[in-house]
Amino acid sequence: MRYLRLYLYFLRFSFSRAMEFRLDFWFRIVMDVVFYVVQIIFFSVLYNHTSVLGGWEFPQVLVFICGFFLIDALHMTVFANNMWWLPILVNKGDLDYYLVRPVSSLFFLSLRDFAANSFVNILVASGLMAWALLSYPDALGGLRIGTYLLLLLNGTILYYVMHIAFLIPVFWLHSNRGLGDIFFAMTRYSERPDRIFKGYVRRTLLTILPFSLISSLPARVLFEGLKPELLLHALGVTALLFVGMTLFWKRALRAYASASS
């Protein structure tokens, strides 16, 4: 409850600040809507040449990419600003005050800055998701949709865990551009249906670097029905990576050198 109350303060502060920068507020919405339109056009063009891609027809891919939009909007709103700041804070030695507070430093540094000016994008992405689900030709059922939304939430957490895991090496490397670029290049895999990949690439994307668990596996559960092993796999991988990332964070804090005054 205390952490929830703290998060409400973060929200309040972030909204107060965001309202001061009106132009940025609108610019972010326009930028993300353009991104959504480009993705939908990209798949529309592909489906002009084929009726099935990775086992999915266009209405299924539409639900899948809208699922990714929702995860992306959540990540951009809840975590992205904090992830952007982390390497800067580490390199400038500005973690000091976060480390002396009696609160989890990981919680504080991951959630303190809520991008209130991206908040509207969650509403836009939710609207697109509702539209994609409503225009889906077959009945999906409440349980499947509920599980799908739960797995999208799991995908959001997984996205965050992998993002921060790619940033933590900054404690040793000091420059993190290379790893950051690799992470963003790899997020492309989460924007594609997992079945278009084969062999060890697919296995890697479902286990060690589970970008396909972010939005592709949830969509598969929605279309192919509830399979307990898939559910357990998605939740289990997220839990394992979260624990691993927490240990990695603790190890990194030991290497934190701060900065001289």
Partner: protein
């Protein structure tokens, strides 16, 4: 409250020669040197004590403060602060310490201080009543009750520092680390903060460690100082003792009425101490502490003195001399 034994901290630093060729070479072969920031220091600080940590830039002061507050890990030795190992960062430990860094802000720039204080209330789980009383008391002591509802960025540097102090002390910490709390402030703000710290110490009796390059901070606030040079303590004791040891003299300056040149020359020859200046209007003499009264009497009885001034040697000069010397300061 603070106990430190044989504390060491080493940093491994990459050394690179200047120039492009050296940069390319460093891609393949790197030379690292180990920098010993702290070389086995030991000391204790008790309740209600303000310990001054004095040293040149890079001497190891900030490293020591950051180890004691749990920000960085030591390379060796033992540290106990409020019976905790700081680098374990237990919540009980972090709830009872405070860190104030004059060069780093902890408050949210775009928000009023009052909002930031509310967040800290939640972080430190301060009960409503205690929060209201402490905030009112601190605002009253620092005379900033009217400013807490303004955005931090709209405040002057002195007011911001006062807000930082309030933010750090809201939870009534038992140990307070102050790293250059008056840096960049004007004289009146510096004085206000010193007075506040003394009053706060009087009321709450926390252990405090203060680092500052302003000797007036050290003089006003600290009965005991630690002088640190290249990661080692060269002095641990009372401030006045080190001043007496290194400045066993005072400077007497007498402003004079005009008098004949030959009389003045004869009087100069009779004067006790080392004459630094003997002009027509003024004479300055460096005298051992025990001879000050005699020399002053001599000046007043034999010279046409209009005004007499007796100066202590500047503490900053004493400390600078210690920084530049080798070996420890004798106890």
């Amino acid at each position: 409250m603070i106990r430190v034994r044989n504390l060491k901290k080493e940093f491994r630093v990459h050394r690179k020669e200047p120039g492009l060729i050296a940069s390319i070479r460093s891609l393949f072969v790197r030379e690292h040197i180990v920098k010993h920031a702290l070389k086995g220091v030991s000391f204790e600080v008790g309740e209600g004590e303000i310990l001054g940590l004095v040293g040149a830039n890079g001497a190891g002061k900030t490293t020591l403060v950051k180890i004691l507050s749990g920000i960085i890990h030591p390379s060796g030795g033992e540290v106990s602060v409020l019976d905790h190992d700081p680098w374990k960062r237990e919540d009980d430990f972090r709830s009872r310490i405070a860190l104030i860094m004059g060069q780093k802000a902890q408050l949210w720039w775009d928000l009023p201080a009052a909002d930031c204080f509310l967040l800290l209330k939640e972080i430190y789980r301060i009960p409503d009543g205690q929060y209201r009383d402490t905030l009112a008391n601190l605002c009253d002591m620092l005379k900033v009750s009217g400013e807490i509802n303004f955005q931090i960025r709209r405040l002057s540097l002195g007011e911001r520092m006062k807000m930082e102090l309030i933010a750090a002390l809201l939870h009534r910490p038992r140990v307070v680390f102050l790293d250059e709390p008056t840096i960049g402030l004007d004289l009146s703000a510096q004085r206000a903060i010193r007075d506040f710290l003394l009053q706060y110490r009087e009321e709450h009796k926390p252990a405090m460690i203060l680092t500052s390059h302003y000797m007036e901070d050290i003089e006003r606030l600290c009965e005991r100082i630690l002088i640190i040079r290249d990661g080692e303590f060269v002095y641990d004791g009372a401030l006045d003792r080190v001043v007496r040891h290194y400045a066993n003299h005072k400077i007497l300056t007498a402003h004079l009425k005009r008098w004949p040149e030959e009389e003045r020359a004869a009087a100069v020859a009779r004067l006790q101490g080392e004459v630094l200046e003997a002009g027509r209007d003024q004479v300055r003499v460096k005298v051992d502490r025990e001879d000050v009264t005699r020399c002053a009497q001599q000046l007043l009885s034999e010279w046409p003195v209009v005004d007499l001034n007796i100066e202590e040697v500047d503490i900053g000069t004493v400390i600078e001399r210690i920084f530049n010397e080798k070996g420890k300061v004798p106890a």
